[in-house]
Amino acid sequence: MRRNDKRPTHINKSNGEGKGKPYYARLYRRFVWTTLTCSLAPLLLVGWGIYAHYSAFARDKMLNSFRTQVDNHRKMIELFLKEHRSRLQLIAETQSVDFLQRQRNLENAFRIINQGEDSFTDLGVIDENGRHLAYVGPYHLIDKNYSQAFWFKTVMDKGIYISDMFLGFRKVPHFIIAVSRPEGNHKWILRGTINTEAFRSLVEKVRIGRTGEVFLLNEQGIFQTSPRFSGHIMEKAAFPVKNAHAGIQVHDLKAGNEDTEHRFPRQILARVWLEEPRWMLVVKQDYAEAFEEMNHANIITLIFIHLSALILLFATLLSTRYMVNVIKKRDQEADHLNRQLLQTGKMASVGELSAGVAHEINNPLAIILTERQILLDSVAQTPSLDREFKDQLLASLSQIDTQVHRCKHLTQNLLRFSRRTKSVVEPVSINPFLEEVVELMEREAGANGIRFLTELEENLPSILSDPSQLQQLFLNLITNAIDAHDGKPYGRVRIHTRARNDSGVEAVIADAGCGIRPEHLDKIFDPFFTTKSVGKGTGLGLSICYAIVRRLGGTIEVESEPGTGTTFTLFFPFKPPQDLEGRLREPENDTGGIPDERIDHTVGG
């Protein structure tokens, strides 16, 4: 066989023609997309839906809670102011100016209204002209005159007044609560200064975390308490106070909002006006901190959702890959079986045809031979023939004989290929058997410069088989291996045997010849397929091998790399198929009288 291709090939490669890699890649992608769409999409939809719903719900809840907290705080501040105003009112209503302007009495009153809390810094009694009648406190204010002070005028006018923060004579930010009381024809004023520090800590006594701040602004936008970050007491705040309506307003300030001065993170802000004085309570907190718990819960939810999606994705990829591989394997097996079936079917029909054709050719051949013999006899009986004519005639008759025998050889090979004969089954030890065949072929191989390398496994178990068919098989394969080196000055044929599991015996015949072209691999077992030149091969050798191996219940596989060589791997089971065995036993029982040579003679022809 002429073999000169580069690609290594194997006849049993069954990648499913038409079902190559792209087909399985497409199948894989389709499975993955379908599975992912059916699993990931609902998971993510539900997950994100729950996440969005829960977030909105939790945000509302948080804002409400914030609002309530701020409102309560407002009430607390108002209560504080109302209570301290009431304390002053109570003292003023129950005591006379004469009593209170005595230093000791005022000190007592101061102690009583403070109730040990130091919520008042000082207490003073002032007459209707603005002069201090008595004073208890840390500052030296007894000689001060307040007749021009705004608060003095207001309290004289309204009877009660809570001032904004101001510096006053003491030059320290503070605010005062003053009540005026008419006594006889005169009025006097009881004035208390609220402890700024105590008031500040009261105002800030609301949970605002690390980033929050709380402060009070008056109607002009002046800080009434020191905010944590936004400025200082008595300074003008960069904060609009125009919305002076009642109720709590809660704002969600986006990052960088103009309402914020230097701060950029997103914030929530609540503001509410106190009743008296007209101060605005402002509570601010970074959104991130206010919603920290919610965000944390949200992040965990999202992590779980996406982790599940990721697991699903990997599970899908893995399971799909596994599934596609299983399908691929099944396809390959089916393909392999189909090819085998096809080959078997082809062989069977070719076998039938061969037997018929051989018979039909044998009869005319027999007639040709008899005609030739008649001519030969005639020549022998006619001595007067022209010598030249006689020589020519004898040469032609000899050629007829040669060609008839060539045809006979062909028909016998055909019959051997299709034979349904009864042969002998007996235990065959493959190793000595192969050694015999090698010995038989060594002369021919040596002439072609080919060496045999045998690696025969020791203690190889015997198989039950038909020796004559095995001999035919090995002779054909080894002849082929030798022929494969045609054109090479030297070569080698490696013959290797080994036991395969517990099922049978494997024999490998590998040559270093010219290899088989990939496009020829599928055809080499077909009858009459040959790449040898005309007259050199009938194309039946490997077909007969195939038929024999199948009959003996074995397998034959071929691997070939053009230019490098061809390897035939044969497998024979320890026992041949039941039907073969049954058929093989028959002649032993029934035709005991027939000598073996007769069978050999006919079969081997």
Binding site: H359, N363, A366, R419
Partner: protein, 157 residues
């Protein structure tokens, strides 16, 4: 042996005619028929030493013909000459008592050799049969009636 009588049975007329010529020129007395029925008739009318029988014939095939021939109980050996692929059939023929078989195409010398073998066997059997009959005549002179009878008469006896 020269002078042996041979019956050729083959549906190929050219073949039988050629083979007749060849065998005749080799000293045999040859008759040729082209189907099984004619063969049986020929055997009933004349005696032949060797029958050369084709297996695949239209009408009565070789195997059936062989069975019929055997039924006749003659001292005749049958040689199978077939172009048929099935060696099983040839083996069946051997089981039915054919002497041997050859596959077509075959050399005339091979055929002659087989014919000679068949003739010798036939001759041996005839001799043995004769001796047995003589023995019987010696033991019981009344048996002399069957001396020249046929095999089947012997079986009846």
């Amino acid at each position: 042996m020269r002078g042996s009588t041979i019956l050729l049975v083959d549906d190929e007329k050219v073949f039988t005619s050629n083979m007749s010529k060849l065998l005749t020129s080799r000293g045999y007395r040859v008759s040729a028929v082209n189907d099984g029925d004619s063969a049986i008739r020929a055997l009933q009318e004349n005696s032949y030493d060797v029958v050369v029988l084709d297996l695949k014939m239209p009408g009565m095939d070789g195997i059936t013909t062989l069975k019929e021939v055997k039924k006749l109980g003659l001292f005749t050996e049958t040689l199978i000459l077939t172009g048929h692929g099935s060696i099983d059939t040839a083996l069946d023929a051997l089981k039915l008592g054919a002497y041997d078989y050859l596959t077509k195409p075959c050399e005339i010398d091979d055929l002659v050799e087989k014919i000679e073998g068949a003739w010798k066997k036939k001759d041996r059997e005839e001799q043995r049969d004769m001796q047995q009959k003589i023995q019987k005549v010696v033991e019981s002179p009344s048996a002399a009636f069957t001396l020249f009878g046929r095999k089947k008469d012997k079986k009846k006896a």
